[in-house]
């Protein structure tokens, strides 16, 4: 059992009716492995009432860079896999999460302070979101691409392709459903991703990474960094080998200005998804609403291929 679930139970050594539980070390997820931060740092994660849950790894600039290297290395294989295969892998994530739903419910409850039924509903939605996106994998090219009727003897076709390595600031509030809602639309089309998890609520993300690691998601396709958003986000926003960035998690992140991150992202013309909200405000949307395709299309390129026709 995780530390979360055992919180509040008797922990005293030698208590006759309880076993001393084995607690999990929460680490990063980079390149399919679970390293500690290279910085050797960790930070205290507490539940919604301020009680200690765990020491999470406090990711560093170097960890973020390592994650980008891993994501870049994984890109060709993941983007080059068949859409059918990617769809099955995403569906597999849902299957594995379903099997561990009690753990996710407990961690979401502890992190977000939700009542049990509400936490159950959130985890169900997070699982169902993977299923929804899984089904999109082998439909995107048909829905978003097609033949162009050019005025000449040419075969001319447009199809979507993944944009490359995507940096994602995961939502600060919704630690699991929000996270899945921003990661699944990135990877379904073949992008690889470096995620900065919710700073204060990182534990569900690490447990999700365990599900990813056992779901045939190739190492490096999803990389998760826990830590201080304000510290690590600028290095991802300015990284020259990152092609796009989703700033959803800039809302309510301590010391983070999404405008500054977008400014840094302009250096190599990253595709930027701004946080919801008006003006310079950033708000976290209601992730329980049914998504549309916009998060998918934000991380796609359209490639158009011409060839002459002739006898």
């Amino acid at each position: 059992m995780s530390a979360t679930v055992s919180a509040g139970t008797t922990r005293g050594p030698g208590a006759a009716d309880t076993r001393v539980d084995v607690r999990k070390t929460y680490k990063l997820y980079i390149g399919g492995k679970f390293p500690r931060s290279e910085s050797g740092r960790s930070y205290e994660v507490v539940d919604h009432r301020g009680r200690f849950l765990a020491n999470a790894a406090q990711g560093s600039r170097k960890d973020a860079r390592d994650a980008v290297v891993a994501a870049r290395a994984a890109f060709a294989g993941w983007a080059g896999s068949t859409a059918y295969n990617r769809g099955q892998v995403l569906y597999r994530v849902a299957e594995v999460m379903e099997g561990r739903r009690a753990q996710f419910v407990a961690e979401v409850r502890a992190s977000e302070g939700l009542a049990e039924r509400r936490a159950e509903a959130v985890v169900s939605q997070a699982i169902d979101r993977w299923v929804w996106y899984a089904g999109w994998a082998d439909k995107l090219a048909q829905v978003l691409g097609g033949l162009n009727p050019v005025a000449g003897p040419y075969f001319d076709i447009s199809a979507p392709e993944p944009t490359g390595v995507v940096g994602v600031l995961a939502p600060q509030g919704s630690s699991l459903l929000g996270l899945v809602s921003v990661v699944a639309p990135v990877v379904v089309s073949g992008n690889t991703v470096v995620v900065l998890t919710s700073e204060q609520r990182p534990l569900p993300a690490i447990t999700l990474s365990e599900a990813l690691a056992t779901s045939d998601v190739p190492g490096g396709v999803v990389n998760l960094i826990t830590g201080r958003t304000a510290e690590v986000a600028p290095w991802i926003a300015s990284h020259r080998d990152v092609n796009a960035i989703d700033l959803a998690g800039a809302a309510a992140a301590d010391g983070v200005s999404w405008g500054d991150l977008e400014l840094a992202a302009a250096e190599n013309l990253k595709r930027v998804v701004r946080p919801a909200g008006a003006g310079s405000d950033a708000v976290e949307p209601d992730w329980s609403r049914t998504p549309d395709l916009s998060r998918v299309t934000s991380f796609l390129e359209t490639k158009t291929v011409w060839h002459p026709k002739g006898r």
């Binding site: 829905v143 405008g259 302009a266 013309l269 916009s294 291929v305 060839h307 002459p308």
Partner: protein, 482 residues
């Protein structure tokens, strides 16, 4: 062997009436500037001053944006798609009717050969309006999302290489989707946009729907920074594209950027060589190489490199460089003194870095801005002429041995706009097309454009697409989005 000489075959200039000076087209009429200055537009083939044009001030841009906002709120944003479409059909027809006039004016102001402005720029511009006219009342069928609706006032800044065509690429989709426009043509080629204002008047387009403000970088910056602009569309250099991206960071302005390129044109040993050589020539010498998607890096398979170079040089020897208005001219004038200097500087760097320089040795006119079709061989990937966009009639030749090597070299650039593949092997075309990180891939052809075909880049060649169903995304909001 006897060779045939070409007699001069100049297109008549009399069809065009250039005014001595132009104001700004704001709210449906030409108006005087408030605090702006004047500059001259020059014929790059003769250095003759063509007209005096207004450099719009911030106050002028503000007036133009206000007019566009009024037109959006009062007329255009609430007009039925069917009626919007009818205006666009009118514009398309007017461009067709006045095509000769536009073609001659474009060649005079830009320096491009009349056969290109006549056969490519102007007909394609009309086709863009015709294509988008049909979308205006069918947007809910375009698969853009639920409830597609306009963004509001769009600011557009366009380059000098295809002045009227880039205007059409920008204005047609913006109007079809119900937006209103403030557009700035390039400072060296404003005249076709100013003539286009007459077309708008003849079409009875409601005042303020399209506002045309001439000027240089400062005018463009005023558009980019204006707080009442909802969306920006820019075609031009990657450097300026990054400035725009920085300018709008932290705001809610949307942007599409169509920027530079350094396209690889890849020729395999089984390619049909005569066609490939024509494609290479078209790829880099079309429009004097002033093309963002130009095939400026020739990647040729090692086993046929000598043969391709020999045929290429022979073909370049027959290119006719000179008077843009001569119907037999293949390569016209470089658009400006500044651009000529940039080409001269980069080609000097090519020589200095060790590449072997060759040009076709043709005679050049005494006046005007000219550059001979030039080929560099022995180019390595680190040379500036293999990395930087020259935007002129200069081809860099590199070699490769395997398809993997060709892909690695082709993708070894921060750009990703276009690429070319020449091979008779179908499976190799499709594999290569998958591997190349570029928005447009031409296989056994090059530099083909069509209003139905999305155009735009990967990586630092910008974002967003223009043309086709995909180009509409840039101009609509859908679903719950504001």
């Amino acid at each position: 062997m006897a060779t045939f000489e070409y007699a001069p075959a100049p297109e008549s200039r009399s069809v065009v009436d250039i005014r001595p000076s132009y104001g700004l087209f704001i709210d449906g009429a030409f108006t005087e500037s408030q605090g702006g200055s004047a500059f001259k537009s020059v014929n790059p083939a003769t250095e003759e001053v063509l007209a005096e044009v207004t450099a719009a001030s911030e106050a002028d841009v503000d007036r133009a944006v206000a007019a566009a906002r009024r037109a959006y709120q009062g007329v255009w944003g609430r007009m039925s798609g069917t009626d919007r479409g009818k205006y666009l059909f009118r514009i398309a027809r007017l461009l067709q009717e006045r095509s000769r006039e536009f073609a001659v004016l474009e060649s005079i102001d830009n320096g491009k050969p009349i056969k290109e402005s006549r056969d490519v720029d102007v007909p394609l511009a009309a086709a863009h309006f015709f294509y988008h006219a049909g979308w205006a009342d069918k947007l809910e069928y375009a698969g853009l999302g639920t409830d597609p609706r306009p963004l509001g006032v769009v600011g557009q800044v366009i380059p000098w290489n295809f002045p009227l065509l880039m205007l059409a690429w920008k204005v047609a989709p913006a109007l079809a989707t119900g937006n209103t426009v403030v557009i700035k043509p390039a400072e060296t080629t404003p005249l076709s946009a100013l003539l286009f204002a007459e077309v708008l008047q003849q079409a009875d387009l409601p005042p303020g729907v399209v506002n045309i403000v001439t000027g240089a970088g400062a005018t463009g910056q005023a558009i980019v920074d204006h707080p009442d602009i909802d969306k920006l569309a820019f075609t031009g250099s990657t450097g300026v594209g990054k400035m725009i991206a920085r300018s709008i960071a932290g705001t809610r302005k949307k942007a599409t950027l169509e920027l530079g390129g350094k396209a690889a044109n890849i020729v395999f040993d089984d390619a049909p060589l005569d066609q490939a050589v024509e494609g290479i020539v078209n790829g880099i010498f079309f429009n004097q190489g002033h093309v963002c998607c130009a095939g400026s890096r020739l990647l040729v398979q090692e086993s046929i490199a000598e043969e391709v170079e020999r045929r290429l040089k022979r073909r370049l020897g027959t290119l006719r460089v000179g008077d843009p208005l001569d119907k037999n001219t293949d390569v016209g004038a470089i658009n400006s003194q500044a651009q000529l200097q940039r080409i001269t500087e980069l080609t000097a760097a090519g020589e200095a870095e060790g590449a072997e320089r060759w040009d076709n040795g043709c005679e050049l006119p005494a006046k005007g801005f000219w550059f001979r079709p030039t080929v560099f061989t022995g180019v390595s990937q680190t040379h500036r002429i293999a990395q930087e966009e020259i935007f002129g009639p200069v081809l860099s030749v590199l070699t490769f041995r395997t398809p993997h090597e060709a892909v690695a070299k082709a993708n070894n650039t921060p750009y990703g706009l276009s690429a070319g593949i020449w091979t008779e092997k179908g499976s190799r075309i499709l594999w290569m097309a998958d591997q190349l990180r570029a928005g447009v891939v031409w296989a056994n052809t090059f530099n083909k454009f069509d209003p139905t075909s999305p155009f735009g880049g990967y990586k630092e060649s910008g974002y967003g697409r223009e043309g086709g169903r995909h180009g509409l995304y840039a101009y609509v909001a859908t679903g719950d989005a504001k």
